[in-house]
Amino acid sequence: MGLDFAVEVFQNEYLPEGAADVDAIVTVTTTGAAAQVVSAHAAEVVIVDTSASMAYPPSKLTAAKQATVAAIDALRDGVSFAVVAGTDTARTVYPRARKLVVADARTRAAAKQAVRMLRADGGTAMGRWLTLADELFAGFEGGPRHAILLTDGENQHESPRQLTRVLDEVAGRFTCDCRGVGTDWQVAELRRIAEAMLGTVDIVADPDGLAEDFRSMAAAAMGKAVADVSLRLWTPEGARVVSLKQVSPGLRDLTGRRVESGPRTGDYPTGAWGGAESRDYHLRVRVRPAGVGDRMLASRVSLVGPAGEVLGQGRVLAVWTEDSALSTRISSEVAHYTGQAELAEAIQDGLEARKSGDVGRATAKLGRAVRLAHESGNTDTAKLLARVVEVEDPRTGTVKLRARVADADEMTLDTRSTVTKRVGKG
């Protein structure tokens, strides 16, 4: 496959007597020249919201069509693809039949022609869109399966429970990046889909930026050389995984995604990987404390490929000591990402409080977020925060809520709250 995986573990293995929680940052890095790892074998489905609201203003649908065309242009020859139009139901725009077609000059031109003919009409039922994508992907094997979902509104024609059922059904079968255009969609809703489908979520406040975004998503998806990679965690008897979260790029809680794969062993999906990628995961294991002086393997972390082959391995250790100079040292990697997770939580809580009119709580939470962003050097998030609050002193987190905040600014802050700053290592 030409892709090499390396697993590194950053932690302070020394614990005080009786301590049970072991924290570690697990970094997975792939190497391999991009040209070597490009795989023609990939499947791409673009799902465009064509509900009635997409026609107001008309620039939204126009931009969505242009973006879809850009994504189609980015598909390499040999990639299997389809375009889906989503309303309160779902239909394939290209090809007509419910299947994937192989990209070449002719099919790309025909697909673009079909996309340009799209009209907006109807409601929104995202679960049905995903179900159709799942149906299209069925039978495609041996490469990454990726979808792009674009919407401008709420999932009105389907209950949250229906969407949950669909997500439970299709999660793990393909990855899906979600984009919200305008400000009438729900951040929490798209985030839920993106998390379940191991994809990203972002706001496209200005439709003009959509084409470039689609092009890069399609290109990134085709840059994935290995699909269906899992993190396999072995833990000793009497231990359990308290949490496993991807912390860079972006926060994603994988704790609930565990699939038992052997004695004391569980697999967590990480999706597809391309060349020169690096992701960080925060693992917390609770073990049965051993005696002072004892050394324990708290977790063996393996990266496992689609056929069960081990691509890389790391060890999370625990050593109990009386030497508090050793046990009180905090791993800078663990501390950094704990801070980034807190930052995301403070932003989401703060915005929630702001919406419900709780000024005191909103000010406190967003102030804390400003301080955490400042301390960790997360300047992107700090800038987004400054559009929602007036920052008096970033070091203490002294802020005032702004009286007037553009919806797009608030939604951008919410959407990107889970984008973390990478820890500076070494």
Partner: protein, 324 residues
């Protein structure tokens, strides 16, 4: 006395044989294995697990596979030793070696690796192996025990010094040293550092060594009392040790006549921290049992008291002229 079988191959041998007819083993000298318990792993983890991964972690409970050094017991006629990791340290950095030359006597060495130096267990194992060689050769050759003891310290000091890396002189592998050469009617004890020797007889007990520590020096100078010294943070800061940076040329030694039966106890500070005075030792010492039982019991006392350090105890039976 008829020796029943060769300790190497179990073939029958006679008491006057110098070598085993079957395997050629030297029957005059019996000694503990060079290199210590070596790389033989115990087959099982403390949890009962029997499978270990490539890095030596138990597939069941995750704990590191116990090292053969965690608990070592050696038994020869008239002398036995137990070395235990204790309850607080990650490794057992104490080592012991001893041997017996038929018709001549017994030689014992105990070394305690200095925890703040690197590869401390290698330092102590190298020291006991080297020193035991010199002492056993001296016993066979009928050399004077005091000069043989000095030779053994010089050789051990050089051997440990060779383990040092020039670029890491400040953590050069280091250890303490205490030895005994025991014949029918006399015993010579030599030491460097704070590992100790005690003599226990019917009449009572006595400590034979004085610690080479800053605290002991202050006690000797009247700055601290014995009691204060025990709790002083400098209590264990060594003023002499073996290793590249030691500058040691000779041990302190003491030689005494063995007139009555008794026991000679050599130990690391993992034991004597809990029973510092000879009377303390006498109080917990079991009577009427073979040396291995005495050593086991004393190690048990230290473990029950907390086992904060590695514990090594070697016990030599003193015949008092009744034959070594």
């Amino acid at each position: 006395m008829i020796m029943e079988s060769c300790p190497e191959c179990a073939s029958p041998v006679a008491s006057q044989d110098r070598f085993c007819e079957a395997c050629g083993r030297n029957l005059r000298v019996q000694r503990t294995p060079v290199g210590g318990p070596g790389a033989q792993w115990p087959p099982m983890c403390a949890c009962g697990g029997e499978e270990f991964d490539a890095d030596g972690f138990c597939e069941q409970c995750g704990r590191a596979r116990p090292s053969a050094r965690d608990r070592v017991e050696f038994v020869l006629p008239g002398v036995a030793g137990v070395s235990d990791r204790g309850k607080r340290r990650q490794r057992n950095e104490d080592s012991m070696a001893f041997g017996r030359v038929r018709g001549r006597g017994v030689a014992v060495v105990v070394c305690d690796g200095v925890a703040s130096s690197e590869r401390a267990e290698q330092a102590s194992q190298t020291a006991v192996d080297t020193a035991a060689d010199v002492l056993l050769t001296g016993l066979q050759a009928g050399m004077d025990a005091e000069s043989s003891t000095t030779d053994s310290v010089v050789a051990a000091n050089e051997a440990v010094g060779r383990l040092a890396r020039p670029e890491a002189a400040e953590v050069a592998p280091s250890c303490t040293f205490v030895s005994a050469v025991v014949t029918d009617d006399s015993a010579t004890v030599g030491w460097v550092g704070d590992s100790r020797a005690y003599l226990v007889a019917e009449a009572g007990a006595a400590r034979l060594t004085t610690d080479d520590t800053w605290a002991a020096q202050l006690v000797a100078e009247g700055v601290l009392t014995e009691e204060e010294a025990l709790t002083d943070r400098r209590a264990h800061v060594l003023s002499r040790w073996l290793g590249a940076d030691s500058g040691v040329e000779a041990p302190q030694t003491v030689t005494f006549k063995v007139e009555t039966p008794g026991l000679l106890v050599l130990c690391s500070d993992g034991l004597w921290n809990y029973v510092p005075e000879p009377e303390d030792l006498l109080e917990v010492l079991p009577r009427g049992v073979p040396p291995i039982e005495v050593a086991r019991e004393l190690v048990e006392v230290a473990l029950k008291a907390g086992g904060h350090d590695n514990i090594t105890v070697v016990v030599v039976q003193l015949r008092g002229g009744h034959g070594a």
